[in-house]
């Protein structure tokens, strides 16, 4: 029962977390900030909004990419943290889904057909090659340690102690997946406007925002799930909030890297991931 409640409520929780995040962000910048329920209002407004007089590119992918993006991020909650629907190899499916959600960013960027959107997508692609590889390697580490390919069988006490290096890797991967400074280069508003979302408006933008919020929630849930497990529910909830705070804090207190610097950092992460895996296997 809890599983289903959590799954259905995931978009709402995600939006609420966005609100909390924005409020925290504002308070750290010494201002009041929007009310906590602001993201809900934003999304409702975006859905309400009509068409623009000069429509941009209206090809098939442009319409469909944000929706698939949102659905993909939601489906990920079928497996984590409570396995609603569990089968053999669902760990691999999850890896596939996270990569797909990144790929949809790229698709959305290319579909929008504006040089800024395309450039955002290109940046995302360059960085994706590096970080998705290390992410996959990192998850393989957990698969090797726990010896299971089914998320339902994942040890509830977590695997931090067996692979402490993974904590660092996961945090860094999380911040680039979520476009948190210093690694939000693909979305850098001062360089390429809003990146791939530049050309979207109305409902498409709403789905992108929702998807972003869901992805944020997913990583805040997924990282503690892998590291600490869901053994103690209260501790788990606390850890989720802790990660929300850490990510917000990182956004507040760092500037952004350039693309080549991001790639450099993630090469180091890749090497760390390899070491991590090798260490566990040996």
């Amino acid at each position: 029962m809890t599983e289903w409640v959590f799954f259905v409520a995931a978009p709402f929780i995600a939006l609420l977390l966005q609100g909390i995040r924005r409020k925290l962000n504002a308070r750290m910048q010494n201002r009041i900030g929007p009310p906590v329920w602001q993201p809900f209002l934003d999304v409702i407004k975006l859905v309400q909004k009509g068409k623009s007089d000069s429509e941009g590119n209206l090809n098939f992918f442009f319409v469909i990419a944000p929706i698939i993006f949102f659905i993909t991020t939601w489906v990920m909650f079928l497996f984590v943290p409570f396995a609603i629907w569990s089968f053999e190899f669902d760990f691999l499916l999850l890896i596939y889904l996270t990569i797909l959600s990144g790929g949809l960013y790229v698709l959305a960027g290319f579909a929008s057909d504006s040089p800024l959107g395309v450039h955002g997508a290109m940046r995302e692609m360059i960085t994706m090659v590096v970080y998705e590889t290390s992410f996959t390697l990192c998850l393989f580490t957990f698969i090797v340690i726990s010896g299971t390919l089914t998320l339902a069988n994942y040890p509830p006490e977590g695997l931090l102690l067996q692979a402490p290096l993974a904590a660092v890797i996961l945090y860094l991967i999380g911040s680039i997946e979520l476009k948190i400074t210093p690694f939000d280069t693909a979305e850098a508003p001062t360089e390429i406007l809003e990146g791939f979302s530049t050309e979207f408006s109305g409902a498409g933008l709403a789905f992108l925002e929702l998807g972003d919020a869901m992805k944020f929630l997913f990583f805040c849930v997924f990282i503690p799930f892998l590291l600490f497990g869901t053994g103690n529910m209260w501790l788990f909830a606390l850890l989720v909030l802790l990660f929300v705070f850490i990510f917000t804090f990182s956004k507040v207190t760092t500037p952004r890297f350039r693309v080549d610097q991001v790639v450099q950092v993630y090469f180091v992460v890749l090497i760390l991931a390899v070491i991590n895996l090798a260490w566990v296997i040996i």
Binding site: H119, P189, I192, V259
Partner: protein, 391 residues
């Protein structure tokens, strides 16, 4: 990767004003840059012609909303020397006070923009909060946050409000304290350094060849500062250093500006402490004066130069040469070879702002339009202007 041409602007968040920078990219590297301007061209010099000298002051102030005091000050020093008006110490002190306050607000604003350009929202917010404190002083003294309308030819409209010393000093101290913190952040933070160091390097030789002015020249080790070289108003009576650095990159430009904040705070404190106790002369209209002169002041971005010719109380010609005009020319040169991600940093570190710069509008891009002077004139100068009225 293929070549793309990326338009940056005219409506773009990293540039506070519209300019169109077309960047030809080879993959992620800049192959060529093409600057198109003219979006904020307003024909100011032409408007100034034929205006009464006292009224023209307010139009000159509105050439720019960032260094408005520099514009009025340069205009005033030109006009006053053309008409042989000598001003007393009190007026000099008050004007110097405004000029330095403006430098503070401009540099703080700029540091916020730079932080914003490298994605550092918090530093942007903090810098702008400090800038608000400076604007509070402006507000208290002049009643205007951006345009102040206090200068008059030969005089000044207001004296400092009574008992405002503590008010001003409180704010200055807070600003100095915080600015020092942010300076250290710019100096020490590794990510900021990774973004700013060795980006957009201008060697001293180039700086001299391109006649750069202001903090940009000073960051390349080229010591030019009108305040020291040719003191105007009360700058010969205060004690300050001209800050220079030798690196010539975006990082050096940042630090020069952050250091100048401290210098400005010191200058203002000296000014307030030594404020002479004279009376302000009563401002009057100058209906018969004639003459011709130049004036220049050190605006936050460098030397601001005015030439005026006055004929029986009316401006016959005003020529303005502003710092951004000198500094922007080097932009296309130093952009080459860097990455797209460096564009906001380089553009930002030059601190261009086009309010004052744009006085000629010839778009050079072949595909769009090409004008020689005649066709340009025909197209843009003989527009039938509709009479604007509300009824």
């Amino acid at each position: 990767m293929h070549n793309t041409t990326l338009p940056i602007g005219p409506q773009h968040p990293s540039i506070k004003e519209p300019m169109c920078l077309r960047i030809r990219l080879d993959g992620n590297n800049i192959e060529n840059a093409d600057l198109r301007l003219g979006y904020v061209h307003r024909g100011v010099e032409k408007i100034l012609e034929g205006k009464q000298v006292d009224s023209a002051l307010y139009v000159a102030e509105r050439i720019c909303g960032i260094c408005e005091v520099s514009h009025t000050a340069a205009y005033l020093s030109a006009v006053e020397s053309a008409m042989n008006i000598s001003i007393n110490d009190k007026v000099k002190y008050l004007r110097t006070f405004l000029i330095e306050l403006e430098r503070l607000h401009s540099h703080l604003m700029w540091s916020g923009f730079l932080a914003h350009e490298i994605g550092y929202e918090t530093l942007f917010m903090y810098s702008w909060r400090e800038r608000e404190r400076i604007l509070e002083i402006f507000d208290k003294y002049t009643g205007g946050r951006v345009h102040h309308n206090v200068s008059k030819i030969g005089s000044n409209k207001y004296d400092l409000p009574e008992n405002s010393k503590k008010f001003i000093f409180d704010r200055l101290d807070a600003v100095a304290k915080h600015a020092e913190k942010y300076r250290r952040e710019f100096e020490k933070d590794n990510i900021i350094k990774a973004r700013l160091e060795n980006v957009g390097v201008i060697p001293e030789k180039e700086a001299k060849r391109y006649c750069l002015v202001g903090p940009i020249a000073r960051a390349s080790g080229y010591k030019v500062d009108v305040r020291k070289d040719n003191p105007y108003f009360a700058f010969d009576q205060v004690d300050f250093n001209v800050i220079t650095r030798n690196e010539g990159d975006a990082w050096a430009r940042t630090l020069v500006r952050m250091d100048e904040i401290q210098e400005s705070v010191n200058i203002i404190k000296q000014l307030i402490n030594n404020m002479p106790n004279e009376k302000l002369p009563k401002p009057e209209l100058h209906m018969n004066a004639s003459g011709e002169a130049v004036g220049h002041v050190e605006a936050p971005r460098g030397e601001n130069f005015y030439y005026v010719k006055i004929n029986s109380g009316y401006l016959e010609r005003a020529k303005i040469r502003t710092p951004t005009l000198n500094n922007i020319i080097i932009l296309e040169k130093i952009l080459k070879g860097y990455e797209l991600g460096d564009v906001p940093v380089i553009v930002g570190s030059l601190d261009p702002c086009f309010g004052c710069l744009e006085r000629i509008m010839v778009a050079k891009d072949k595909k769009i339009e090409e004008h020689d002077e005649d066709s340009f004139r025909k197209k843009y100068c003989e527009i039938q202007k509709p009479e604007v009225s509300y009824d």
